[in-house]
């Protein structure tokens, strides 16, 4: 590939990344505590006043949480859509979000602190995702995609039932509001340590998906095609799904259930860079991060009370998805 073509191919990723950086600066510079950007810049280099340092301490983790969760859900959504050859596939296809919600709700019911709640959510997401993958592995139906979808639905339904039970028995004046707010999603509660902790599994899952690259494209053509090219289709699919589930679990554990990003970001990315996984996944991650930043900023834009990001992502994501769908259908 000549340098011009290479530049052209990386241009969308570069543009999306620059857009994210611009949004990061805008988000860092605005908030309830009015601090001049110059003071914030000084604080970033350790020479700011205590108030500027406080603002960085507060906005930094929140920003990091929004970026990592958005990127994780966008990347995982792209992975699922490629693997299932289904534009409606989303990170919750294996019931991971429901499992994470169940884990967090159980921990809140038992009076656990923030770290334990997040750990329980992460474990719950992985357990339900693992249950779906395990059950699908027991079947022998074609290339396994249908079995995965059905087992995902079953595992998710079980987790939802468990969650409903927890909601019913929760104490209505303290536990129930806490569970409800957790499920509706927020980037606010994340501390720097928690955001950095979530970064580990998200980076690992993202790296695996990016490493799989063209193999995912081959898998999307069908198992026989993949085998004819010497690829172990079943193992590769399992690896990719586990990576996507890992990213989703970590994101939901950090921020709660934030829907639509995993569905919307890959569709937007597809319009820009097409179907190839090597480009689709990173651009989906960048768009997911951008979307998460925007909804997080909107969450506190209408007064001191925070609007849950799970609600905003649906309110903004659903019409945006419709717009993308209409645009894509007109193009084709």
């Amino acid at each position: 590939m000549d340098p011009v073509s290479r530049l052209k191919s990386t241009l969308p990723t570069l543009a999306a990344t620059l857009l994210v950086v611009a949004c990061v600066i805008a988000v860092l510079a605005t908030g309830p505590l009015a601090i001049p950007p110059a003071d914030l810049l000084s604080a970033a280099f350790g020479r700011g006043g205590p108030e500027a340092e406080l603002v960085l301490t507060l906005r930094g983790p929140r920003l990091l949480a929004a970026l990592t969760c958005g990127a994780a859900l966008g990347g995982a959504g792209a992975g699922f859509q490629i693997l299932f050859r289904n534009p409606l596939a989303a990170p919750d296809l294996l019931g991971v979000s429901s499992g994470a919600g169940l884990g967090a709700a159980l921990a809140l019911l038992l009076g656990a602190g923030t770290v334990l709640v997040q750990s329980a959510a992460f474990a719950g997401g992985l357990a339900i995702g693992g249950l779906a993958l395990g059950c699908a592995a027991l079947t022998r139906s074609g290339d396994g995609r249908l079995a995965l979808i059905l087992c995902g639905v079953v595992a998710g339904a079980l987790a939802s039932a468990g969650l409903g039970l927890v909601v019913i028995v929760a104490e209505p004046y303290s536990q129930l509001p806490a569970i409800t707010y957790w499920l509706l999603g927020s980037f606010t509660r994340a501390t720097l340590a928690e955001a950095l902790f979530a970064l580990g599994p998200i980076c690992l899952g993202g790296a695996v998906l990016l490493w799989l690259g063209f193999r995912l494209d081959v898998l999307s053509l069908g198992d026989e095609q993949a085998r004819s090219l010497g690829l172990p289709a079943r193992r590769l699919r399992l690896t990719a799904l586990a990576a996507a589930a890992l990213m989703t679990s970590a994101a939901v554990a950090l921020a709660g259930v934030v829907g639509w990003i995993g569905l919307l970001a890959p569709h937007a990315a597809r319009l820009i860079v097409g179907e190839r996984a090597g480009r689709l996944i990173p651009v989906s991650m960048a768009i997911g991060a951008l979307f998460a930043l925007v909804i997080d900023r909107l969450a506190t834009a209408f007064g001191p009370a925070e609007i849950p990001v799970g609600l905003l992502s649906a309110a903004v994501g659903a019409p945006a998805f419709l717009f993308l769908f209409v645009t894509a259908s007109r193009r084709s």
């Binding site: 908030g31 309830p32 505590l33 205590p50 108030e51 406080l54 603002v55 301490t57 507060l58 906005r59 929140r62 809140l108 009076g111 656990a112 602190g113 923030t114 709640v117 019913i168 028995v169 929760a170 104490e171 209505p172 004046y173 303290s174 129930l176 509001p177 806490a178 707010y181 927020s186 606010t188 509660r189 506190t300 007064g303 001191p304 009370a305 925070e306 849950p308």
Partner: protein, 332 residues
Amino acid sequence: MHGGGTMRVIRSMGRHMTTTRRSALIGLGGALALSACSRGPSRDDAGRRDVVAAGSPAALLVWAVARERLAGWPRRPGQATLSALPAPAAGLPELGSLTGNGRQANLEALAALRPRLIIDYGDTDPEYQALAQRLKTRLGADWRLIDGALGRIPDAIREAGDLLEAGRKADALADQAAEVLEHWRRAPPGPSFYYARGTDGLETGFRGALATEVLEGAAWTNVAEGSRDIGRVTREQVAAWDPEVLVTLDRGFAMAVRHDPVWRWRRNGERRRLLLLPDLPFGWVDRPPSVNRLLGCAWLADPEGSTMTLGALSRRLYGMALVEVGQPRWIL
């Protein structure tokens, strides 16, 4: 509640018991058979336990006025609360709620109890009156809905006393409640505060909320201005409000932030004070919105000199000594 507020329910209903002690026992047996996870009152008490509370606020009212008549808990309190309360509390079954959130009562099991009276305590707006009428018809029991406004607690106690034939005991408590509220209304202006709920402290009651009524009524200034009753805010918003005091009922939150500069630092460089209010057996300012709030009113009216009043109140409300209830703590 106040100003068409959002205070939770308090209702009651009842029906004259024409049955004998034997039929009451039979009814109770039927209810217990239907309520798999509950433990019934002792045989000796069963004949008198003929009053059902529609929700947790009503249960506390009945417990304070005539605890020997309470047939069960709408929602069984936690083990710590049950251990703190006098012995009969732990033996009462969980009947479920007739109003509000949480596990709903099994109407058939309640009907089998043949309660003489069902009491609801809280909002008396048309919505709750209509609900009371519906349930009264379905259960065929007498129903009484008592106004749960904080300022009308003495009236509520007297009304409950009349209904439960606990005149002298109820009158003594009502007189003390009236005295406490009188002092509470004349309390000198207090500091500005932020009321932190939940394990992360980011759930709060906005100015005028039921949850902060006790503090605001004692001339403490709630910094959280918003159009809702309860909501979530960001840590940056709390820093921007810059309250003098953080008030919480959550010991876990208080311990987590006691050394956290983000929570404890004020914009003038001073250290923010942190007040941990007792939540056993029930909260002093909140959870549930019932007669338990009298303790908060008494303490806020005179933090230094209210020990005698608090001791008498805790005995009358719960049958507990003050030392068992605990005291508010300023966390350094």
